[in-house]
């Protein structure tokens, strides 16, 4: 009997379990997760409605049962023997596999300063509960790290009326994944909402109720959250002798250096057309890689080619980025009543788009932009800039051409 084991029951591992069945795989599927809960969605954790953490399960136990997926929760994988095709679990059990999927995800990067243990992480449901219940009896919060998670959390905590400070080592927040124009917009919105920024600042020590910065400034903080990014969870793969770098290295088919072991989600650095490996950290990527990996494990030979996409909710604003905008792309802005849409052209070809607007008002336009990117169009920049030109018509013309 064929057996597939999936290590990691986050968005990617769980999606893969179902996608294997959708691809017609008939062997046994075992999903192993270290957390005690049913698999759940992480994005809502930093975007809680009414400030309360809710657990949104990815599926019911019945759905797992119906799909014939054995879900082992509260156990980790402690060793991988790729030669004998077996995974050892933290409870001592060994699982044999014909094919293995590593969906081990990522873990929060740790601060190295004195008192670092006082800072709370923000990755899991339990982390979110600890932070949001901790702030109920507090007045001030310091968030170390001005990335997407830190900024989403800042917006939520301002909404709860707390004094919020964001401490960021770089000169600007959101510098890594967000195009600078939109990063600046969001930065100023946070300032208007009363978030205190300490930029270009390292942390020298976290004390009781205070964060001490490198320049000697003390930032008051009853609660301190560390949101300085994540590191791919590669220990298991590394110990098993698989190729790793900034993630578990895979080819374009999401196959690791061992042909019977695939990987998907935050833990993967996937080979790019044209060279190098890239790791993506997003909800959509976790699902899309899971689907491709699952189909390939079930016998398909399909390169992973999804257009990267993520969104972020901050106050009433929604940011979306599709593709990978680069500073040397030609940027064309389209101003709309509820926000702005940016198109990025590489040598005339549309390769990326981004938007910032109120609520979901720009979702349609972004979806159409994504379809235009996938269609490899070379639009006239003046047409892109004109809000009177319907993107759906542009897409239909491109498809007709």
């Amino acid at each position: 009997m064929d057996a597939i084991v999936i290590v990691g029951a986050g968005e990617s591992g769980t999606r893969a379990a179902f996608a294997l069945r959708e691809a017609g795989y008939a062997g046994t599927v075992t999903l192993v997760g270290v957390e005690p809960h049913l698999p759940y969605e992480r994005p809502p954790l930093s975007k809680p409605e009414n400030g309360a953490v809710t657990m949104k399960a990815l599926c019911s136990s019945q759905a797992l049962l119906d799909a014939g997926v054995t879900y082992l929760h509260g156990v980790g994988a402690t060793a991988l023997d790729a030669g004998r095709r077996a995974v050892t679990l933290s409870d001592g059990r060994a699982l044999a596999y014909d094919k293995l999927l590593l969906a081990t995800g990522a873990r929060p990067r740790k601060l190295a300063c004195k008192g670092a243990e006082r800072a709370l992480d923000f990755r899991t449901y339990d982390d979110a509960k600890a932070v949001l219940s901790g702030v109920d009896t507090s007045r001030s919060v310091a968030i170390i790290g001005g990335g997407l998670i830190g900024m989403e959390l800042a917006a939520v905590l301002r909404g709860k009326g707390l004094a919020v400070s964001v401490i960021e080592a770089a000169p600007k927040p959101l510098g890594r994944a967000v195009p600078s124009h939109f990063a600046a917009r969001l930065h100023s919105r946070h300032s208007e909402e009363g978030v205190h920024f300490h930029l270009g600042q390292g942390v020298s020590e976290i004390r009781h109720n205070t964060v001490l910065l490198a320049d000697g400034t003390s930032v008051p903080a009853d609660v301190v959250v560390a949101a300085i990014g994540v590191q791919p969870e590669i220990a298991l793969a590394e110990a098993a002798g698989l190729a790793t770098g900034n993630g578990i290295l895979t080819d374009a088919f999401l196959r690791t250096s061992d042909p019977d072991i695939f990987a998907a989600g935050d833990c993967v650095a996937v080979e790019q057309y044209g060279g190098g490996h890239v790791r993506f950290e997003s909800w959509r990527n976790a699902r899309a890689q899971a689907e491709t990996a699952a189909r390939n494990m079930a016998g398909a030979v399909e390169p992973f080619a999804a257009i990267p996409w993520f969104w972020s909710d901050q106050y009433d604003l929604v940011l979306q980025v599709a593709g990978l905008p680069q500073p040397d792309h030609q940027c064309v802005m389209r101003a709309l009543p509820t926000g702005e849409l940016a198109f990025y052209l590489d040598d005339g070809r549309l390769v990326a788009a981004a938007s910032l607007g109120v609520g979901n008002s720009l979702a349609k336009d972004m979806k159409l932009s994504e379809m235009l990117i996938a269609a490899s169009v070379r639009p006239d920049p003046a047409v892109l800039a004109d809000p009177g030109v319907n993107l759906k018509a542009l897409l239909k013309n491109a498809k007709a051409a």
């Binding site: 809502p44 969104w311 979901n360 349609k364 759906k392």
Partner: protein, 103 residues
């Protein structure tokens, strides 16, 4: 079945949708490429997001947040993460006016 006047047909672009709130509930009304009108529950069954903000292509509406999709004629969930079908309601056009039976 009692009909409620929702809007004018011209208020909805072809292959488009608008949100319609009535009696404390929210609905989405679509104008299909066939120029007929359709009505479904207004919120995605995956997360409470207004579907009228989503992209309408042919007879499909896509949730603006997570790309789940539905056939708005039948309410059938046709793409994950949406897996629960949408409720549908009768809709018609009388003299350019869109009426729906949502009660």
């Amino acid at each position: 079945m009692s009909w409620v006047s929702a809007c004018q047909l011209d208020d909805i672009e072809q292959e488009g949708a608008i949100r319609f709130d009535h009696g404390g509930r929210t609905y989405a009304i679509y104008r299909g490429p066939d120029d007929r009108v359709y009505c479904t529950a207004g919120l995605c069954t995956h997360e409470a997001v207004h579907l009228a903000d989503g992209l309408v292509m042919d007879f499909e509406v896509e949730c603006p947040k997570h790309s789940g999709a539905f056939d708005y004629r039948t309410g059938e969930a046709i793409r994950l993460p949406a897996c629960e079908n949408l409720k549908t309601y009768p809709a018609e056009v009388v003299d350019g006016e869109v009426r729906v039976a949502v009660n």
